[in-house]
Symmetry: C2
Subunit: 367 residues, 2 copies
Amino acid sequence: MRRPRKSRGDGRPTIADVAARAGVGAITVSRALRNPAQVSATLRALIDEAVRELNYVPDLHARALASTRTDVLAVLVPSLSHTVFTDVLRGIYDGVDGTKLHVQLGNTRFDPQEEERLLAGFVRQKPSAIIVSGVDQTPASRRMLEEAGCPVVQIMDVTDDPIQVVIGFRHREAGRRMTEHLIQQGYRSIAFISGWMSGRSLERLYGYQEALAAAGLSEPCKVHSLSKDELTALASRADSGVPPFLEFSRPSLGREMFRRAKELAPGLDAVFCNNDSLALGVLFECHAQGIRVPEDIGIAGFNDLDFMDACYPSLSSVRTHRYRNGYAAVTAVRQMLQGSYEGPRVVDLGVEVMARQSTLRRGPDRA
Amino acid sequence: MRRPRKSRGDGRPTIADVAARAGVGAITVSRALRNPAQVSATLRALIDEAVRELNYVPDLHARALASTRTDVLAVLVPSLSHTVFTDVLRGIYDGVDGTKLHVQLGNTRFDPQEEERLLAGFVRQKPSAIIVSGVDQTPASRRMLEEAGCPVVQIMDVTDDPIQVVIGFRHREAGRRMTEHLIQQGYRSIAFISGWMSGRSLERLYGYQEALAAAGLSEPCKVHSLSKDELTALASRADSGVPPFLEFSRPSLGREMFRRAKELAPGLDAVFCNNDSLALGVLFECHAQGIRVPEDIGIAGFNDLDFMDACYPSLSSVRTHRYRNGYAAVTAVRQMLQGSYEGPRVVDLGVEVMARQSTLRRGPDRA
DNA sequence: CTGTTAGCGCGTTCAC
DNA sequence: GTGAACGCGCTAACAG
């Protein structure tokens, strides 16, 4: 014989309790809570009061189970340790503010396998929408996204073949434009340095190579694609637990790679760093060696983190609109959810070359 | 009359489908999935096969609803934009790796109200455990945590009165020890500069003041507690959406505040910055003004971010064990969940004064 | 070790 | 505009 479990195992009130207290049907309470307009003002008042008195809080799991929907906005980023992505996240969080949407974060740690796993986990929760970083998902991930049955927005990159909508910028163009700026400033032996290359980093490298080729210049040396072993060795820091992928943006790595580049190419006169932290390291190495910036060496970074313009000399970089990207993604998601999205499938937010002291050897570029 | 909905509204297989395919009861499938030891090897094999063939994925909401439990580890941090917290998060993510626990992140944005809201949301989901940053929750938050009915671990600070377990370090002690180091190096006019003061920052300030008092020194000037208006003004940056609380760790702010401090206290010979970004700014301002470091001015930061030892001169800081803190919190949580936690209620991870070139005017401190 | 039964709390039918 | 049933997919409890 079974004893009927009392109202909720833990004693918290259920929708039935509220309904009883208000003298209405459970479903009316349900409606009053989700779509007040469906319920007469009289009952609504009664219900609201009952809710308050009982301190009723709807159970999200039950709701999800019954309605096969949630208000979850699944967000996948490759890292929580890079300003690049945390800026995007700020935009996303600000975007959902005041919405019923709840951000649920997945950290892929730059691991496509982990991305698949997370995606599988998200998909089974039937999120309202999904935002993923990048456009180079594995086939399995892509399929899951295509079959997720909800709005999907890719960010931080651009492709001609988005899953649904992509909002970001062209890394290749970004790499090209900064390199063109360096060339315009009279630099002729420009190295590209980078710790580890993500797909997006590679695009930047290609852009750099295109610009060099267009100007009839060649790469003075290759100090990118540091091997995974080398990175792991560098990662051995006291309290660290620092994963290799984090290493690619350490200033000390920038110092090291700059030294290496100078050995390989003594005539070096500029370095384009795959990220700002590397650039910071290069700057300090120049200070340490008494190398003048921008006269002897030009330095450029990527991302335009907030310290770049506070350096001495201030450091040039490529500004990407990360916050805006996150915010725009949420805006698109919301419109897609109500079927009112009118934007294009491919949105290019563009980038901005921030030419500062570290590369201005000749004054501002002539447009 | 009801038409029996076929297996899952969206066609995905349910546990019943698997059970039918394997020729067993649904509950056996359930058990085989969660605790294989409870099921005979024979049936287990059948079930595993059925699961694979059907590509069955259990529904988490249904599971949560039925079992009044989840495998959610709720984590509350005040910001996703500060390395300080993202480092902790790495430790947490690494800690849950290989566990059934899922991290669910809440971003309070340094807003106690938001913390309450998030907490309320989490609590209703019955998480397996909760990790919160800091020890200064609002009374309402504290009550929710006390009544959450699950392990609760506070991190990044220490208190004598934890909710359950607290793992962190003493900010006051940290502030005191770095100040003592500066005094030991012969600095006599030491300013503390800070953009905005969280509760933890304040503790650091108190530690600094204690050390000064103990040495018979006084504060040369107060360049902390920058008003919120001032911060907001500084925050007006192009693509920003930069919230005031982010401003407190901008290098440009460090430059600005250092200038201000020098005006207020011309005899200034050292600055203790509430965070490393400010210290970086101070360093560059010194470069720009031709001030020698550490001879004319000593510079110290807080947190020991990875760029500190790559600067020229390298910058002193207080290393806090953030990654370890996150990891330890998860370890504690896991033990608490299985009732095997034997550690103390209060765990002090300690801090390390990293004395580098920027403050070593006399050589290493004599212990 | 396995199956049966009965709900977890809510929202979707469909009637009124 | 409101209510009554039923079932979302799974697991707790009991019996065998």
